[in-house]
Assembly symmetry: C2
Homo-oligomer: 285 residues x 2
């Protein structure tokens, strides 16, 4: 894992490794996180959020997708005449670009409204495991080696509090359900037919315990690879209060910008939600 000899990195390693217990908090990850400066300029925001509409991706055995129902749309006559329009909407929590809360896979875990905002705003790391112009192999894993490779190429460690984004290329085929999920089927019978890559459970553990990340995101429907039966990454992240961002969009555009960036991911504050729609943006350095 590339031990470094400079005092700065030793310090981070020492802080991150001070205790044997696995949780971030116990390992002092909070203390290790430094201040973060975000500079908004004229044109340096990339929106990493897919539009939420009836085409939005949702887990195949959820009962339905995003639906809007009109309450009123038209002109109102009072002292003047004016246009007015308003709707209801409904959706599964885990539809489109969203955040998984710890209580999704950990009983009694934090709800969507309780996840620390300090974990959802941080320096960005983009992992691009695929060859240009292709999708990262379906049913493949992003492993610790991919993160070590990023550290070698960038000649730095992944900072404490980082928001690590995995660009598998699937965000580019978001609207092609057969490619995105590996199947057009829906319902429980679709689950065994799913195919897409995901994070290696060992890498999730490494990122959380050795790199003290704030959050992790992926441009597929799930942080766990499609063939997973017990969702070990979800379980581990949930237990350690690390939010996961799924169906992240526009990572191709972010990769093309080829610049350092910060991430701001703000979920809807649904009380006790096991997840919630999230607006996620990258702010280029």
């Amino acid at each position: 894992m590339g031990m470094r000899s400079t005092p700065y990195f030793l310090l981070v390693v020492m802080i991150c490794s001070a205790h044997a217990a696995p949780s971030q908090k116990e390992r002092g990850c909070r203390r290790a996180r430094s201040n973060l400066s975000i500079r908004i300029r004229k044109d340096n925001i990339i929106d990493l959020t897919h539009v939420t509409d009836e085409r939005s991706a949702y887990w195949p055995n959820n009962p339905s997708g995003f639906e809007m129902v009109e309450i009123f749309k038209g002109f109102v006559e009072t002292t003047t005449r004016f246009f007015y329009s308003t709707y209801m909407f409904s959706q599964p929590e885990h539809l489109g670009t969203h955040m998984d809360a710890p209580n999704h896979f950990f009983k009694g875990g934090l709800g969507a409204d309780e996840v620390s905002l300090y974990k959802l705003i941080g320096p960005g790391v983009l992992i691009n495991p695929k060859k240009n112009g292709t999708l990262f192999g379906k049913d493949s894993f992003i492993t610790v080696d991919h993160f070590l490779e990023w550290e070698r190429v960038h000649d730095k460690r992944i900072h404490s509090g980082s928001i690590v984004l995995l660009y598998t290329g699937y965000s580019d085929v978001y609207y092609d359900r057969s490619q995105y999920y590996g199947t057009n089927a829906t319902g429980d019978e679709a689950v065994p037919l799913l195919h897409f890559p995901g994070l290696d459970p060992k890498a999730a553990e490494w990122l959380v315990t050795n790199r003290c990340i704030g959050a992790i995101g992926i441009d597929t429907a799930s942080i766990d690879q499609a063939r997973s039966k017990d969702f070990l990454v979800h379980q581990f992240l949930a237990k350690h209060e690390i939010p996961a961002l799924e169906n992240v969009g526009n990572l191709g555009k972010l990769a093309a910008a080829n610049k350092g960036f910060k991430v701001i991911a703000l979920p809807s504050k649904n009380g006790g939600g096991t997840g919630a729609p999230a607006r996620i943006i990258a702010v280029l350095n």
Copy 2:
């Protein structure tokens, strides 16, 4: 309105007043906006978002409020045994802390997914028109004088691109519907019974055309005062593509911090939505 004689303010006035047309864009408001630095420290975020749940405020003649329906909650047995929980939710667009999109009151206006994020991230201005510990008078207006008073006290103009927040005190009584709305009634018959303060339509025009604001927020159910029949503020803001934030929370806490701040308001990206839940945070300087 307090003409200033320093070159800086003259320049801003000149840029903002270069054309007679009313729109911000035509008036050069975009050019006048400068870079924005936001510094996240250990404990300088104030969440201005009410939790979204079955108690959340919604316009009295909307058919229903926030509802969650369980899809699954319990333990799953596969190769291992793990906890899993997931829900559907439904709500009116304009429930709880949310953003009004221009198409709410302007036919063909931008939807919730199309509002510029640059308008939703900006320097914050907190207007506190009430006496300490009381609610600002119901059915009262926040007027241009309140903004000029803020400028006098702070000895500076409201910056171009500012997100102006109106603290009427109603965020402190959010869960007391009879106080918050002025009535416990629901349905169409409740509308004539509403009582709460709002923004003077003349002040909305002044803020947009003379101060080039990015967005405006209020801690009541509507940026228009409760007695409004034609929603002139909504109409004006919609026409000029200025998002309005309603049911903003925690403004008392922000007032108590008594510091300058930046605002980040990120709405759900509902395609064509006339509004959307927004997670709104203040970052203290």
